[in-house]
């Protein structure tokens, strides 16, 4: 037990550790990121995008309505243990919002959020059921959930085939990271398979075997599915693309979720990956005034970790969009509460009343960057539109127009899932937060 002395010393050291002085008129946002570990390949670009947009606002406008945003990154390495640590740290420093950027970490912090009064922004990842604002007042997953994404993939396939009824008798392979993230869409896929009479074949890829997928793809070769759907992340994506090429799977029948659409993922296959498709919900490219501001103010002056040629890539823009949502939520919260320096509780109200219209997008220099986004007290995700992009050998090209998910299919399932979550985690607190408009 003597070690407690040491523990005590460490603790004295910790308590004495100077927290960054909360300067007048500033708010603190922690970004849980991962620039290390097996998922760094995807994580780095997201982290860059998130940090750059907020820092750009600080540089260009002096923050949001004169309130500076203190941005700090916390390295999770996509590891749930470290994620909890980052969350506790964020809590101790009064973060406005917590971005886990990992479905595993999101699941862990969901129950804590309501108690600690910290909103969780899990942009198009995490628990799909969290879209239900009445059950999960503190969790936000705009612009849509994985389940919306899964229906998006199916409706795209149906479109290719010429109608939803054509799905009947088809075989669709689903290769996924065998973790919470990859398993999340399965209930919906199974339900849809039942309804439309197609078969869904699962190919789980264990995290440890991410770079060793030959067995899964051999099975794909044997089963000859008509379409392949991938739910991969990090090192799993480029390996899957390479393996698909190896077994000569037709790439235009290989469709990924938005997280499988990193430039590096497709680039691994080079020209052979031509035709590979993924979902997306924001534009790719740096041709937006706001991103040009990032370039001018941060990248060109060396204040950013982003390399100039990676500006505007898919995952970078994903991170940027994440920060746009946060910035807009802060602004909304400021308007509603009339305060300049808002708290995390105000931030929740802001996130709940997001209304990013096309006019607003134009104002912030991101016209056409994404579909307009709107959230409400009940609806924390919003089932917004997406599109399919295709790899042309060098870059992503927008293939389809914006189209909505099959909201009518997803909604009842979401409600059911939220209810299930509530019962299995009983006593789950009822929503106590008033709906502020």
């Amino acid at each position: 037990m003597r070690n407690l002395l040491i523990g005590g010393l460490a603790l004295a050291a910790m308590t004495a550790a100077p927290l960054p002085a909360q300067a007048e008129d500033s708010v603190y946002i922690q970004l849980a990121t991962y620039r290390t570990g097996p998922f760094a390949g995807s994580g780095i670009h997201i982290a860059n995008g998130m940090a750059d947009y907020l820092n750009m606002l600080n540089e260009r406008d002096g923050g949001i309505n004169g309130v500076k945003i203190v941005v700090e990154e916390c390295e999770t390495g996509y590891n749930t243990q470290k994620g909890v640590e980052c969350y506790e740290q964020a809590k101790a420093k009064n973060t406005l919002v917590f971005n886990p950027y990992s479905t595993g970490i999101t699941l862990q912090v969901i129950p804590k959020a309501a108690v600690d009064k910290i909103p969780i922004l899990s942009m198009a990842y995490g628990l799909s059921a969290a879209a239900d604002g009445n059950t999960f007042p503190w969790i936000f997953n705009p612009p849509m959930t994985y389940w919306d994404g899964a229906t998006g993939v199916l409706s795209h396939i149906a479109n290719e085939l010429g109608g939803l009824d054509q799905l009947k008798g088809k075989k669709i392979g689903y290769i996924f990271l065998d973790a919470g993230y990859g398993r999340e869409p399965i209930p919906l896929l199974e339900k849809m398979a039942e309804e439309y009479g197609f078969e869904i074949v699962q190919y789980p890829v264990p995290v440890k075997e991410m770079q060793n997928q030959s067995a899964q793809w051999l099975n794909v070769r044997r089963d000859k599915p008509d379409f392949m759907v991938i739910w991969g992340w990090g090192a799993m994506n480029p390996t899957a693309v390479k393996e698909a090429i190896k077994i000569r799977y037709p790439m235009d029948r290989f469709i990924g979720v938005w997280w499988s659409g990193g430039e590096d993922d497709a680039r691994a296959g080079g020209q052979d990956a031509k035709g590979y498709k993924t979902l997306n919900f924001h534009a790719v490219g740096a041709d937006f005034p706001a991103i040009q501001d990032v370039k001018r103010l941060l990248v060109d002056t060396g204040k950013s970790q982003t390399e100039a040629d990676r500006l505007g890539e898919n995952l970078y823009n994903r991170g940027l969009m994440n920060s746009v949502l946060m910035a807009e939520a802060i602004r909304t919260a400021q308007e509603i509460t009339g305060k300049k320096v808002i708290t995390s509780e105000d931030m929740r109200v802001g996130l709940e009343n997001l209304n990013i219209t096309e006019a607003r997008l134009k104002e912030i220099g991101l016209e056409g960057f994404m579909a307009p986004i709107r959230t409400s007290c009940e609806q924390h995700s919003g089932h917004h539109s997406m599109y399919v992009q295709q790899w042309d050998g060098e870059k992503w090209v927008k293939l389809t127009d914006w189209f909505p998910p099959m909201t009518d299919k997803v909604k009842p399932l979401l409600a059911q899932a939220a209810q299930d979550y509530k019962t299995s985690n009983a006593p789950w607190p009822d929503r106590a937060e008033p709906c502020v408009n």
Binding site: M1, R2, N3, L4, L5, I6, G7, G8, A10, L11, A12, A13, M14, T15, A17, P18, T33, Y34, R35, T36, E72, E73, E75, N79, T80, Q81, V84, E85, E88, Q89, A92, G104, L107, Q108, V109, I110, P111, K112, A114, V115, D116, L127, S128, A129, D178, A179, G180, R183, E184, I186, P187, P204, P206, Q305, A417, D420, S424, N425, A426, P427
Partner: protein
Amino acid sequence: MYYREAGQFKTSYKTDQAILPLREDRIGLMLSLVMAVVVVPLVSNDFVLASIMIPFLILALATIGLNVLTGYAGQLSLGTGAFMGVGAYACYKLTTIFPDVNIIVHILVSGLFAAAVGMIFGLPSLRIKGLYLAVTTLAAQFFLEWCFIRIPWLYNYNASGAIEVPERRGFGDLILTGPAADPLTRYFVVLAIVIVFTLAVKNLVRGRIGRQWMMIRDMDIAAELMGVRPLVAKLSAFAVSSYICGVAGAMFVFFYLGAAEPDAFSITLSFQILFMVILGGLGSLHGSFFGAAFIWCLPIVLRTWLPAIGIDLGAETVFHIAQLVIGALIIFFLIVEPHGLARLWQLAKEKLRVWPFPYG
């Protein structure tokens, strides 16, 4: 492995057989207990309690568990993480099936499941030794990890595949687990369990069974010739060790993480615990605490302090440097004192005893 310290002469068997024969040790223990029970809760904020003290204590318990197996019985295991996982999943199942029973009871019972699994995977130890055994325990690690993913019954068919800690009350209406549980409450529960277990293990290892383990460790064939049954000794070591690890695993999820994916019990955790054992000192209980404190707190302290002392770096650079430093420190400590921090502590005591007039 350690020599008895001389200097204080005992006049009765009772004092001679005390848990801590030295008066200074007893005082030290009392001081640390006071520190843990009174000072720590008074001076620390929620972050220190929730992110440092609670996981540190739980990991220290897991370290004690592995120490029983590796330090006392000499059987190297790389499957600690998975055994902790068994405890955690068992506890989750128990508390969802019997929600009204006090969670502490569930935690203690869930260790039994881990013990059973541990004994099954301990069977090869009767034939396989040393590093070969270590690699076979990896079979347990990977197989169990796969079970946590592939057997949906274990996580109640949750869509997410994760186990989530429900709110449980006990001792009146105190919230013990779940998000609403106060870090202070959790800290005291964890502390109590850890103290009780440490005391129990201390008595176990100085008793008959503990001595058998050590005989097996030091030379199994000789021990067998002297009448120690390897089957009983080895399997009991696996059982006790896995039981403690299972309890630690259940606490890890219920009092610290709050929810867990199978990933939480990966091989990384096994290595982390093994490091704590080795750095703290094989076959030393207080060493287990040293090791846990070192491995758990150092990265946090490094990450907090590197930026604080004016080295302003990106989060990931700090992370890299922390990793560099930890790797180097592990090698450094192994070179300086392969018997771990516990041995360093003992050497320090020996130096102090003759201070200020060292002889020889």
